[in-house]
Symmetry: C2
Subunit: 430 residues, 2 copies
């Protein structure tokens, strides 16, 4: 080891004792961890020290830069259109990427959307799209670029070359109780988005029962850090804090969320999904400098649907194919008349997960047809015997645990009770 | 995994979020880690959370019990004499175990002293004794018992069967910046001492520049926790806080510390080594219920020396053999006349380590003859040209780095300057 290099214990104890890590310490430890010269147990101790003692902005920025430097960077500057991407911190029923990417492309801005698979109670965009017969998530960089130029939108898996340090660190955090560290969450998200090379980025930071961030102050802190990281790296970045007390739309699953997204692209669909899709589309267009188009027109005139169909077909999918349907269903009905005053996103997300829509370990398969459909949204009235939920799965032995997850996750008040809806967009940062 | 078992992330996040671990969580995680079902990176994250968020007494007690339960327990109840052991948290020039064990045995109390090898700037008792030609550190439990009954004192290596969880955890803490956690230090020391089966235990908790604990409050906290753990486990336990600003005696190394110990056993030796040996001997005798003997008499009448010679011989050593001498030496002399007012234990310890008396990794060998002899102790006067230090090594290329360690580590004030000595025993707990 040269006189100027660092060692792992020195870096760990610096953060453990509450001091700031230097740029040189951060560059060294991220690189050494990626190479395997810093062991998993050393990075785990450092991650816990970061979680408990925090990092200042400069450290988070250096950490993000070191993670970007661990891999390749993509470059979309040869495209004839500006680019904009969106990232959601994860919610229940959050299918927004599906209508959003083709909608923004229909407005003239290219959308290079690198997505992931689901883990835990929130679904993954790629899992949803993979319920479309023939559709492939894996594209070469060249194919991705060609599709962006030709179709204007691509939703695909991130290649292994992008921020490999993050990939390794994320897997470690998952098993060491260090996921919930704002500096590590922010740098994980932003290193991939900056390395991806998008010109503009809109962050959808979810807040509430079904989100990773349960309270608005921590969500705002995360949003502010990420907006600063993006801006410093030359990416026009804005964040919306949006509600995740209640799940989005009326479905949580894979194929059933695709179907709901297609309804939105067809000019229909649940009002909240339409509202959030348009709000995020307007932010992406503004950030990309395309302020002369109203995305609502592109939903109404069918051009967003046209891009969707071309986008699905370009990745081997058949946009006209029937979507998979779960083999078994179970309906939960209302015992008495009333008004639904609460629908807990976490309860719905856990139920969908337990029905087979999500996975517990990253190597598990998901069921394309599984999930939960809720027939009533908060504020809506029901009569006794009305269906509240339809549970869908290929494996009916899962119903009991899904029902247990829903138990206590909703509330029906006396008929005529008032309901004060929470706004969908809670704040805007950037 | 059964419904009643725990999982690693749950245990980690409990401590991470500042709550107390239940007895069941602690039993599970220590056992699962020992078995390999909890990974090193998970235990590293937990250790960092313990270091930063602390543990209450009940948790430390449960953690210690779980580490004891991971291995065998020894039993000395068949001995005809009471037993007492001593543990030092580690200092520079700390050869006290060498004269102390035979001295206490000469007073009628058996001393089963399981010791370790040195790592870093503090020497190891076994390294020192191994400089005696023929002496062996490894004994079977049966041989140890027989020697205790016959000679009354044994200093040997702890077997692999004692608290294996601690062995594994200690190696992990060493590379993950989690050594300095009071709950983990206390449970590491006490699990081995309680499993060892001693009836009484005296802890020598070092405080100052050359010690692990730099300030007296943290040292007192550690001492109080350890005394409580021992007492709860039925071991009569007392702790002395003793000074480690200045190294003990006039030598730091291996063979040279053995020689100094033999001087003490012969009725001579440095005053501070004699004082601390007698203070610890009196505590051990009191804790073992043998209050009718004055250990000073046993130094004066040669009976402690007799036990030393039998103890060394019983483990294959020749008490009359010449001790190894370093091949090279270098003398540092005083530039001007004056009074030594400061001698930094850490500087001396680092110099001895760099000369080859200690090791950087546990698999490294040590040099039997290497070390530092200081000719002047704080408060003593020197003339210009008087020798201050003799540096000893088999490998003279080490002199430069050893001299660099000593640089700034001592202070000579104008002739006639006053020196206010710090007391050797700072406090007593228990």
């Amino acid at each position: 080891m040269s006189e100027h290099a660092h060692d792992a214990v020195e870096v760990i104890t610096t953060k453990r004792d509450g001091a700031s890590l230097s740029e040189s310490q951060i560059d060294w430890v991220v690189d050494a961890y990626t190479r395997g010269a810093v062991a998993d147990e050393q990075m785990a101790a450092l991650a816990m020290a970061i979680l408990l003692n925090g990092m200042e902005r400069r450290e988070i920025s250096d950490w993000t830069a070191a993670m970007i430097a661990s891999g390749e960077r993509m470059d979309f500057s040869m495209l004839t259109r500006p680019t904009a991407d969106k990232h959601s911190t994860g919610g229940v029923g959050d299918k927004i990427t599906l209508p959003l990417a083709p909608l923004v492309a229909a407005c003239g801005v290219a959308v290079p959307q690198l997505s992931g698979r689901g883990l835990g109670h929130t679904g993954g965009t790629l899992d949803k799209l993979e319920s479309i017969p023939g559709w492939r998530a894996d594209l070469t960089n060249a194919a991705m670029l060609a599709q962006l130029e030709d179709v204007g939108a691509v939703i695909c898996a991130a290649g292994d070359g992008l921020a490999p340090a993050d990939k390794k660190l994320y897997a470690l955090r998952d098993v060491t109780g260090t996921v919930e560290a704002v500096p590590l969450i922010a740098s994980s998200i932003m290193s991939k988005k900056i390395a991806e090379g998008t010109g503009a980025l809109v962050l959808d930071v979810k807040v509430g029962a079904g989100a990773f961030m349960k309270d608005v102050d921590r969500a705002r802190e995360l949003a502010e850090v990420m907006v600063a990281l993006g801006t410093d790296a030359g990416v026009r970045t804005v964040a919306l804090l949006t509600d995740m007390e209640t799940p989005l739309g009326r479905t949580a699953g894979n194929a059933i969320e695709v179907a709901e997204s297609v309804e939105v692209l067809g000019g229909g669909g649940p009002a909240d999904v339409v509202e959030l899709t348009l709000a995020l589309a307007r932010e992406m267009l503004t950030a990309a400098g395309a302020t002369d188009v109203d995305p609502a027109d592109k939903l109404a005139d069918g051009s967003a649907m046209d891009v969707w169909r071309r986008m699905i077909a370009a990745q081997g999918g058949d946009p006209d194919a029937e979507l998979p349907v779960a083999r078994e269903s179970h309906v939960v009905t209302a015992e008495a008349a009333g008004v639904l005053t609460r629908l807990d996103a976490m309860a719905v997300g856990m139920a969908a997960w337990r029905l087979g829509a999500g996975r517990a370990r990253k190597e598990d398969p998901v069921q394309a047809g599984a999930g939960v459909r809720w027939h009533v949204r908060p504020g809506e009235a029901v009569a006794a015997g009305d269906p509240l939920f339809t549970l869908l799965t290929d494996t009916p032995e899962r119903f009991d645990r899904a029902l247990a997850a829903l138990d206590g996750g909703y509330e029906i008040a006396a008929p005529g009770s008032s309901y004060d809806p929470r706004p969908l967009v809670l704040d805007r940062i950037g």
